[in-house]
Every structure is written in C-alpha cells, then in structure tokens.
Amino acid sequence: MSSKEHKIGEIIAEHHRREGPLLPILHDVQEEFGCVDTESEAIIAKGLNLSRADVHGVVSFYHDYSPTADPRPVVQICRAEACKARGVEQIIDAAKAAAGERVAIKTVYCLGLCSAGPAARVGDDLHIRLDNQSVSKLIENA
C-alpha cells in the first residue's frame, strides 16, 4: 500500500459514517496533498464503493478542488461587484506585477468584506482596503 493510499484510507475511515461523506473527504484530501488527482479519485471511489466517474464528476464541479498541485503560495483577490465598486480592477495590474511567476493570484467572488474592499485572502488571513501599495506588499510576503 502506498503512503498516499494509507493516508486517504485514514481520511475515509474518519468520515465514512457521516451522511454524505464525500465532500468532507475531498476537503481533507485537497488539504493534505494540495490537489485531488486521478489516483486519489480512484482510491476514494474504491473506499466509498462509488464509480471513478462519480467521484471525478464531483471533484471537477467545485472550484475548491484542483486536479494538480501548485506549490506556489496562493493569494485570492475578490473581484465581485462590491469590490469592483471599490476599485479592485485598478489594483490588479500591481498585484500581477508583484506576483510574477512566484505567487498564484486567484479570483474569488466575495469574501463577505464588501463594505471595506478591495479584499483578499491568504490562507485563513483576510485583508481589506487594499490599494496598489498594500496589495503588492501582501503578495511579496505571501
């Protein structure tokens, strides 16, 4: 048994008694490996007695699961309406310049900080009232 199989087996064992265990399992796998790849899909399918197509269908539906791991730090920037109204589009160029190839910039639609945007998230840390300077600094420290 590969170590991946072993770890995913543990995750499945932790959740399989829940009603609707698949999403909690996928969250833990994504967290552990940075992705839910086809190998993981197959292991999960076997563990829950589902088809691989079933599991792949679910994985590919949701924005939070990725098929391959990206080792780069991620900065999520909100580009929904309220942050647009507060000028997020004007700081995207600066953000991209600061990120270069080193940091992955991802778009997210709303972090619930809409009265104080532009807003961003790095891990579980949230940031508000961003401008060109603060967004660049944030990305450099990511």
Binding site: A82, S115, A116
Partner: protein
C-alpha cells in the same frame, strides 16, 4: 479594571484588530473580544466604557489608553446615529457580547426561546412563526411558518434542519456577521426548528470562503451540545460553488454529489436531504426565530414592517459607500434614505451612479428610483430584487457596460450546467455585449465567400440589431432557466442597458429605439 472591547469579527481582524488587542493587553488592560457593532468604516473600533474610537491603528494605542485621540473618537457608540436609527432584533447582541461566551449569551436572554418552544410544542411553534410574518431571508421571501408546517405534516421517521449559510451574493455579509458574532442564536433557531417539525439532526452548509465563521460555529456547537440535545448539529463546508446556495443544489452537495439544481417538485420540505423531509432556511431566517419564540415575540415582530413584509431586515451597505456596514431596520425604509442619509453617499465623495440590490442577480437601480421602499412586493413591481438585502453602491466612474458583461461572465462561471439557456446563453451573452460595445458585427471573410451561400452578404449586424438579439437571449434565459441563476441574470444586464445606454454605445438614442423595437 477598565475593560476594552474590540471585535473579533473577520472584518475587524482583517483591519488589524488582533494586533490592537494584544497591544492593549500589553499595557495591562483586560480586553474583551466582542462581536462587531457593524459600523464597518470605523473598524477596527475600540470601545472603552461605551466610548468608541475608530478606525484605530497601532500608533494610536497610547493616546487612546490616556483618553486622547479626539480626532478618531466617535463618542458614545450606542448613541451614534447609525445605531440609534436601527431596530436590532436579530442583531440585538451585536457589539455587546463575546460570541463564544455562554455566560454572555444566557445573560442576554439566550435559550429562552428554545425553553419556551419546548414547553408549547410543535403546533404552537409553527403557529407563532407563521403569525410573526417571518419570510425567508435567503432571497425568495417564502413564509417560514408555512414551510415548517409542510415539514411538520410530512410523514417520515427522520427529518432534517438544514441551514443555508452559503451567502454567495456579493455585497452581503449579514450571515457571516451573525455566525461569527452570535453563533448560539443561529444554533438556538435551528434547535427550535427541530422542535417544530420533529427533526433531531441539523446541518449548517457553510461556504469555504468564511474561515472565521467555520471555526466559531464548530467551537460554539461543542460548547452547547448538551443544551440543544437531543438535537444534534454539524457544520459542513462548501467547496466554492455559488450555485450551491440554491437550496436543491445545496442538498445535492450535502449528499456528496455535484451541486446541480433539482427540478421542483418534489419540494425539499417533502423530499429533501437523502430524500427525507427537510427544512432549508437561511441563517438570518433561523437566527430571527429565538426572538420570535420569546413571550410576545411573534406579535412584536409582526407589528413592524409594511404590507406583507413583516419584521426587520438586516440590510448590508456595501461597495462604494461612506458609512458601510450592517443596518437592521423594519421594512419600508427607502433606498434613498439608506444610501444617502444613512450611508452618507459614496466613499469616494463622487456622485452615486448606480445601486445594485440583492447581489449579482439583482437589477442595477438608478438614483431616479431611490424612492422605492424596502418591501418584497414593491421591489418585484420595479423589476428589482431584495434578495439577501445587500446594497452595493457605485460612483460615477463605474462602467455599467462592464458590469453588464460581468453579470453574464459570473453566470457562465457559476452555472451548474443543467439547462442550456443558462450554461450557453451566459457565454453568448458576453459575446453579444462585447459586440454591442464595439459597434456591432461585421461579416467575416469566410461568410462572404460564395461557397457559404446561406450567409447573408451584407454589412453584418449593427449595434442596434445586436441589442435586439441580447433582449431576445435575456427573455429566453428568464423563461427557460430552471433556477434564478440563469433566470435572473438578465435583470442586471437589461437594467444596465436601459439606464445607462451611454456606457454601451456612442449613440444612446439608438439603444432606446432598439429596446422599443425589441419589446
């Protein structure tokens, strides 16, 4: 010893509240991390003996400790006009209590709704919720009492209470603030719903974009497990799909499936989670219930509001607004009062150009229409949407053509894919808007060749003809979509086009004519 209150709400923390709290602790003060008052332009807000300072930066800590920093002092917080104008029922504890303190919760009337609910029994709970006039705060405005009655009457040994905490609409954060600031109130509301319909299991489907709310609700559920027993409740984290806020999509997601929307009937009330009778309610609907179930609560709730919109609505002032934050008030207040009087106009100081109410599926409202009262029926009559009551303000630098395009882009990114008008229409919609903005569509070289004999050999479509096409597409989306994602995206698009034609083409009169012709 002086107690200093600093919120531990996600927005305050994002503004630096944690560092402020440790700075005051280092100076020897006792710091209480409370919920947020909801005056977001002042966060992080520091409160000492009822007096507030905000927004506070680390460099001002010493002055505030000495009672100085007058330039950022706002005086007694409870007497601030932004607070005195509100009627806080669901957010009665906002700014006052520590979210995870059972002691604070009980001292402020916590669990009295549940205690009373257990005494009066299922039928009377449902009657009181019906009498309160409470309508679902998630968007559709369906009477909560009637929903509960259906689930109560549904046969089956196992029923569920599902809290919709997917709050995906841009411009909304009241669910987040309720969950982070008063988690026990939501849990109490769910336990009461359980008593009402005979369910002993609850799930809170919480979006993954809210890490603080996830952490706090999990902690709160642990702390109060014995109090709500035999009712049990669990947090389930979403996976970044906007459409999972739609209740049937949410149920599929909870079951571990793709978040595709289900056709109704069957209603979730009869065949919901795992095919069993299920109450699906928004956070605010459930969090309003403990107040309603207190002695006389239903009647006092029903006294407020206007027409068939009873009680209070936690309105969220967002976007380019000077005084943004949470404003809970009885229905009936006008949009103009909210944006100009309470919100103080734009944060940038420029004129207000447009307001979007109800999130990404709500129409863009022109300041000419600011006299509309906050009332479900009045909004519907104006082709607008109250939704989850997010009010997003834009100043005159906003490009409404861009916003119309974004509405289609968002729909195509978040469509569940079940129906064609939404899945494909949203992509075609973006293309048409791009063509309108670039003056229409010329025939391409291939179309002009004699071999493509059925392609018209003319100049191509003018911008006006493209508008006809967009109108037609929007009609198809409105009537041919299964849920409101595809069905309501036309509202922001068409309202932007109608109200601000100059943001689409050089000759706005042409749009007016084209819109008339397309009628």
């Amino acid at each position: 010893m002086t107690i200093i209150k600093i919120s531990d709400d996600a927005l305050a923390r994002a503004g630096g509240a944690d560092a402020l709290a440790s700075a005051f602790e280092k100076k020897g003060f006792e710091v209480h991390r409370t919920s947020s008052w909801g005056m977001h332009w002042l966060e992080p807000l520091v409160e000492i003996n009822g007096i507030g300072w905000g927004p506070v930066t680390l460099s001002r800590v010493d002055e505030i400790a000495d009672g100085g920093a007058d330039d950022i002092c706002v005086g007694p917080i409870a007497a601030h006009p932004f607070i005195t104008g509100q009627t806080r029922l669901t957010f009665a504890r906002a700014g006052k209590t520590r979210p995870l303190s059972l002691e604070d919760y009980e001292a402020s009337g916590g669990w009295s709704g549940l205690t009373r609910a257990r005494q009066i029994g299922a039928e009377r709970i449902v009657e009181e919720v019906t009498a309160s006039g409470l309508r679902g705060r998630g968007g559709a405005g369906f009477p909560t009492g009637i929903k509960w009655k259906t689930v109560l009457g549904a046969p089956g040994p196992k029923k569920y209470i599902v809290c919709n905490a997917d709050e995906g609409d841009s411009g909304t954060f009241a669910d987040r603030m309720a969950m982070e600031g008063d988690p026990f109130a939501l849990i109490e509301g769910m336990a009461i719903a359980g008593e009402a319909v005979g369910a002993d299991q609850g799930y809170i489907y919480l979006r993954s974009e809210y890490p603080d709310a996830i952490r706090k609700l999990n902690a709160a559920l642990k702390l109060c497990a014995d109090i709500i027993a035999p009712f049990k409740c669990e947090v389930r984290v979403g996976a970044g799909a906007y459409v999972c806020g739609e209740e049937t999509s949410l149920l599929n997601s909870l079951e571990g499936k793709r978040g595709e929307v289900r056709a109704k009937p069957p209603l979730p009330a009869l065949e919901g989670f795992l095919g069993r009778p299920t109450v699906v309610n928004n956070v605010l609907s459930l969090a309003a219930v403990p107040h309603i179930l207190m002695q006389g609560g239903a009647a006092s709730y029903a006294e407020r509001g206007m027409g068939r919109s009873k009680g209070t609505m936690p309105i969220q002032l967002a976007g380019n607004i000077k005084h943004g934050g949470l404003y809970e008030v009885a229905f009936g207040i006008t949009l103009g009062e909210l944006v100009n009087d309470i919100g103080g106009g734009t944060a940038s100081g420029r004129p207000v150009k447009a307001v979007q109410v109800g999130g990404p599926l709500g129409a863009y409202i022109h300041p000419d229409q600011f006299d509309i009262p906050f009332d479900y029926e009045a909004f519907t009559a104006a082709d607008a949407l109250i939704g989850h009551a997010g009010v997003t303000v834009f100043d005159d630098t906003a490009d409404m053509g861009e916003m119309a395009h974004f509405a289609m882009e968002f729909c195509s990114a978040e469509s569940c894919g079940k129906c064609t008008p939404c899945r494909i229409g949203a992509v075609r919609g973006q293309e048409i808007i791009e063509r309108i903005r670039s003056g229409g569509r010329k025939r391409d070289g291939v179309e002009m060749t004699p071999q493509i004999h059925n392609a018209p050999k003319n100049e191509g479509r003018s911008a006006a003809e493209e508008i006809g096409l967009l109108t037609d597409l929007c009609e198809t989306m409105k009537f041919g979509s299964l849920c409101a994602l595809g069905g309501f995206t036309p509202y922001p698009v068409m309202s932007a086009l109608r109200n601000w034609p100059e943001d689409f083409v050089g000759d706005p009169a042409a749009i007016a004519n084209a819109l008339d012709a397309a009628k």
